[in-house]
């Protein structure tokens, strides 16, 4: 590896297609990054989402919501006490926390579940029929916990590494475990995994390549609560048009890098071919037992 590795993802490399299958040039040929969440009801242009809005001013939050809507990108409103007017007008592209003002009016409603013993699991019911329930959970290595969420009626899971739990594991491990836990037959003969959307979030995520690898481990959307702020040099009270313009270019840049990585691996559709496709990845210098928990092979192995 070129840089000093800090996290598990830094020990994982992606495939480069050659000879047996061609790579794809994303500048001249299609590499699809779009996806659908919540049983096909919400189309997103790319598998990254923007979060970390808690400390932003009201106007800035609105600016972020507008920019993300134009870009077809999901906004994670976690931490807000009120669902902004902008989000209500564009609600399909936002997930709002339960309890926030106006949250009964959004399509995707998020409930934080502190862990497998949480009482909310028993009592939770959607406010209205069309509302999708999303569970925000700490990163746990607990197969039955994730299946219980499905049984309790949740149709989305956000594994949030910034939530504390005494049994919390690394996000990489939790993502892979959750993805595999849900790969069992569900109702209507379809895989349970295909009936629920998996999102992950962590303040430590830096870039498109982090997102790409987490997608390979099973996430459908990777929320970046901090990376975008660093990339666009966010400062409080920054000029709003500048904020949205830079955010849009950041998202386009991330999308291009995702396409480059997918194209290099000979993948032309991220959502259908890459999500949970651990086979495309290899680990380098990772502890053997950790690697097995991730379900990834080591470099040099065939």
């Amino acid at each position: 590896m070129v840089e000093t590795p800090r996290f598990i993802i830094d020990h994982i490399v992606s495939d480069g297609a050659q000879v047996t299958r061609p790579s794809i040039d994303p500048y001249r040929e299609p590499v699809e990054t779009h996806l659908y969440l919540f049983n096909g009801t919400l189309r997103l242009s790319m598998p990254v989402a923007i979060g970390g809005l808690r400390d932003l001013g009201k106007e800035e939050v609105s600016e972020v919501i507008r920019a993300c809507y134009r870009m077809g990108v999901l906004v994670d409103l976690n931490g807000l006490t009120e669902v902004p007017e902008e989000a209500l007008r564009r609600q399909s592209h936002a997930i709002a926390p339960i309890g926030a003002a106006n949250s009964s009016m959004v399509n995707a409603l998020q409930l934080t579940i502190s862990g497998p013993d949480a009482t909310e699991l028993e009592t939770m019911r959607p406010v209205h029929e069309n509302q999708t329930l999303v569970a925000r959970v700490p990163p746990l290595e607990d197969t039955s916990f994730y299946r219980d969420l499905f049984e309790a009626g949740f149709r989305g899971i956000i594994i949030d590494e910034d939530l504390d739990h005494h049994d919390a594991v690394e996000l990489e491990v939790a993502t892979s475990v959750c993805d595999r836990a849900l790969k069992v037959p569900g109702p209507d003969g379809l895989p349970m995994r295909n009936l629920i959307s998996l999102l992950v979030s962590s303040e430590r995520l830096r870039s498109s390549s982090d997102a790409f690898k987490l997608i390979g481990l099973g996430a459908e959307v990777v929320v970046l609560p901090e990376a975008w702020k660093i990339a666009i040099d966010y400062r409080p009270q920054m000029e709003r048009p500048l904020l949205s313009e830079r955010l849009e270019y950041f998202l386009i840049g991330v999308q291009k890098e995702l396409k480059l990585l997918a194209g290099a691996a000979g993948v032309s559709s991220l959502w259908t071919s890459l999500v949970g496709s651990r086979e495309l990845f290899r680990s380098i210098e990772l502890d053997n037992s950790l690697r097995v928990r991730l379900g990834v092979k080591s470099a040099g192995e065939w």
Binding site: A17, V19, T20, R21, P22, D25, Y27, R28, E29, P30, E32, H34, Y36, N39, G40, T41, R43, S45, R66, Y69, R70, M71, G72, R89, R90, R180, K183, P185, G189, L190, P191, M192, R193, N194, L195, S208, A231, E248, Y249, F250, I252, G253, V254, K256, E257, G266, V267, S268, S269, T272, S273, V275, G276, S277, R278, E279, L280, K297, E301, W302
Partner: protein, 694 residues
């Protein structure tokens, strides 16, 4: 590697495929046909594996077939099977094992079970016999479908099973010769066809979605894999049709997964439900299937068409093959056509052609069937039984001795014809030359009475190639001198990287139509698509992504080219979403918004026409990148002054094919000119935040 579960290892392969299906009323197909169709491309495969599969309709008894290491293991397997599905009889083995290779054993269940529980039982048995290493494996268990496969070339496997003596004619045959990148041991289980239930498939490809596909199948309960993408394809077809209950066409679409915005794209809901069943990366698949009443042949090809596949039909049969020469071998006058990128063909014994594999039905009808052969002239060489080295050394010798004209007759699939001939010569080819005709050509004039296959005229600097039939994919790559004329249709990626230099300018003229990526990366020269015979049709003469990445040269297409077929555009949905956002923000008026989204082609140029510069700059970022080049798209008439060179080349084209009148009529009509706009490129790059190089 040792210690890892078997199903994780991924066995990669490339190959040659063949399929033939009987039409209603036609005589059943003998196994010799399946052999002839695959043996003529034995160079695509290797001694590492081959196989045959058949489909029979009507009342049949189920045969469960397994490879096993010995009679004892076979008996053990029978007992295991019997525990799960009731009484099972071992009928015998199909060939004697010499101790080194596994023998194939045939079993017959006494009681019939339903499809699902039978499949579950087969999976459980296979799993039990695959740990720690494979001792036995059930590879075919259909009532209407049966597989014969082994180690060796197709003819070896044919002999091994004594197919000509022991096996009756059938409604459908598929056959395969295998070129593995890795051949684990000497087990026949990795040979094709792969079967699951009433499906058997042969496959040429290396699917990049393999991991996702396998996990999708596991989550439906599939639990034993030998670890190849080909097996996964057979399982997917079986699970989607029998477990999830999709119709044949729906299952094909789910696997092929046409790009968003195509006619056949799956809805978000369908994709959500079936995510993981889509194939990505290169594949061409020929499959046989039966519901007992009719037999189906299904052909699938990937969205980029990275693998060769042609289909054809004559009075009695439908065909599918890796190379045209295979079909011509068994049916010299069949009509042969190509499948579009991301397309699928379905034909059945009873209903004939259900899907032709080309979305516009009329188009496939215009592919060439047989080509008129004039009397051979010059020095005549019978190419029957000659390999390419022999042919080329004869050509080189003749050229050195001052011979001017050679006719090669009975050409059937020989590759590299003309490679290395570095003195002027006229070469007339009668038949179907193999891939890589006229590569590196500098001074030889080729004329082909028949169709040509892939990679013709790569890095050609001079001379000419004149084709009286059709051409397949990657025609004239990096063509930089001389001319290439095709009377009929051409395939994917024609004229990519064409370029001109100094006094040399190459020309490519296609009489019919072309598929995707015409003139990709083009840097010089001229491509003309005439669409002769399509004058009255509204169908576009070109596929998608015309001139994508084009930096020089000219493309001329008769008539109008839909603008969304030119260049590579961001997804329409994304552009519409951006405009929708601008409208909600109050920055775009409702009328313009509605005009734009109802426009047929939402490309950069229409945004330039309709939007104010500040808004264009904002939406434009979806289109722009550091390599973005605007193209000039202009309706033109080929006036003698501006297009003098093109007109004389087209007249020459008319003369060569006796199509003078048709060409003159085309010259009177309108063309669409596509060429790069010169001048500075869009400055979008500098505005981008994340650093990017390339």
């Amino acid at each position: 590697m040792s210690g890892e579960p078997l199903e994780i290892s991924h066995v990669k392969s490339g190959c040659g495929v063949f399929g033939v299906l009987r039409k209603r009323g036609a005589p059943p197909i003998s196994p010799e046909v399946a052999l002839a169709g695959i043996e003529c491309v034995r160079y695509r495969g290797s001694r590492f594996g081959a196989g045959f599969g058949l489909v029979r309709t009507g009342p049949q008894s189920r045969r469960i077939k397994a490879f096993a290491a010995s009679d004892e293991v076979a008996e053990e397997l029978r007992r295991e099977l019997q525990q799960r599905i009731g009484k099972v009889e071992l009928i015998g083995s199909e060939y004697a094992s010499d101790g080194k290779i596994y023998a194939s054993y045939v079993f017959e269940p006494v009681d019939e079970q339903d499809h699902r529980s039978l499949r579950r039982s087969i999976g459980a048995v296979n799993r039990a016999f695959s740990r720690p290493t494979i001792r036995a494996r059930i590879y075919s268990w259909g009532r209407y479908v049966e597989v014969f496969k082994g180690i060796g070339y197709p003819s070896d496997v044919y002999e091994l099973y004594s197919l000509s003596d022991k096996v009756e004619a059938a409604d459908l045959w598929i056959s395969h010769t295998r070129q593995p990148t890795n051949s684990p041991g000497r087990l026949p289980i990795w040979s094709h066809p792969f079967a699951s239930g009433e499906w058997a498939i042969v496959h040429n490809g290396d699917v990049s979605s393999f991991g996702a596909n396998m996990e999708f199948l596991s989550s439906l309960g599939a639990d034993s894999f030998v670890g190849t993408d080909s097996e996964v394809i057979a399982l997917l077809l079986d699970y989607l049709t029998s477990e999830i209950g999709l119709k044949l066409e729906e299952a094909c679409r789910a696997l092929v997964n046409p790009f968003e915005g195509s006619e056949d794209t799956l809805t978000g809901q369908q994709l959500s439900a079936l995510r993981g069943a889509q194939l990505d990366g290169p594949f061409s698949v020929v499959a046989g299937f039966s519901d007992g009443n009719e037999a189906f042949m299904v052909v699938l090809v990937d969205r980029f068409k990275f693998r060769p596949i042609v289909v054809g039909e004559d009075e009695n049969y439908f065909y599918a093959a890796s190379e045209e020469a295979q079909i011509r071998r068994v049916s010299p006058n069949a009509r042969v056509w190509t499948i579009e990128p991301g397309g699928y063909m379905i034909a059945s014994t009873d209903r004939g052609l259900i899907r032709p594999g080309r979305r516009a039905r009329e188009l496939f009808m215009r592919f060439s069937s047989s080509v008129r052969h004039p009397t051979p002239t010059g020095v005549v060489i019978d190419a029957l039984g000659l390999n390419h080295s022999r042919i080329n050394s004869l050509l080189r010798d003749l050229a050195v001795r001052g011979c001017e004209e050679v006719s090669l007759i009975n050409v059937s699939g020989q590759r590299y014809i003309g490679v290395g001939v570095d003195r002027p010569l006229k070469v007339k080819i009668h038949g179907t030359p193999g891939n890589c005709l006229a590569n590196f050509n500098d001074c030889v004039d080729f004329e082909v009475f028949g169709s040509v296959q892939d990679d013709v005229g790569d890095v050609m600097h001079g001379g000419s190639v004149v084709v009286h039939g059709d051409a397949r994919d990657v025609l004239g790559q990096a063509l930089q001198g001389g001319y290439v004329f095709v009377k009929g249709n051409a395939g994917n990626r024609c004229g990519i990287q064409m370029r001109e230099y100094s006094h040399k300018r190459p020309y490519m003229v296609i009489g019919g139509t072309v598929d995707d990526y015409l003139g990709e990366y083009m840097a010089g020269g001229v491509i003309v698509v005439l669409g002769l015979g399509y004058e009255d049709s509204d169908l576009p003469l070109v596929g998608k992504y015309v001139g994508s990445g084009m930096v020089g040269g000219r493309i001329l297409v008769r008539g109008e080219v839909p603008r969304d077929r030119i260049g590579y555009l961001p997804p329409r949905e994304d552009v519409v979403q951006y405009l929708r956002g601008l409208k909600l923000d109050g920055e775009l008026d409702d009328r313009t918004f509605r005009e734009l989204i109802s426009a047929q082609h939402l490309d950069y140029e229409i945004l330039r026409e309709r939007l104010a510069p500040d808004l264009l700059k904002r939406v434009g970022k979806l289109f722009e990148h550091k390599y973005f080049r605007r193209l000039r798209i202009e309706p033109v008439r080929l006036d003698a002054e501006r297009f003098e060179d093109v007109c004389s080349v087209l007249r020459e084209f008319g003369k060569r094919f006796s199509l003078e009148r048709e060409v003159e009529r085309a010259l009177d009509g309108r063309f669409t000119l596509i060429e790069p706009l010169r001048g500075p490129t869009v400055d979008a790059v500098r505005r981008e935040l994340p650093k990017e190089e390339g």
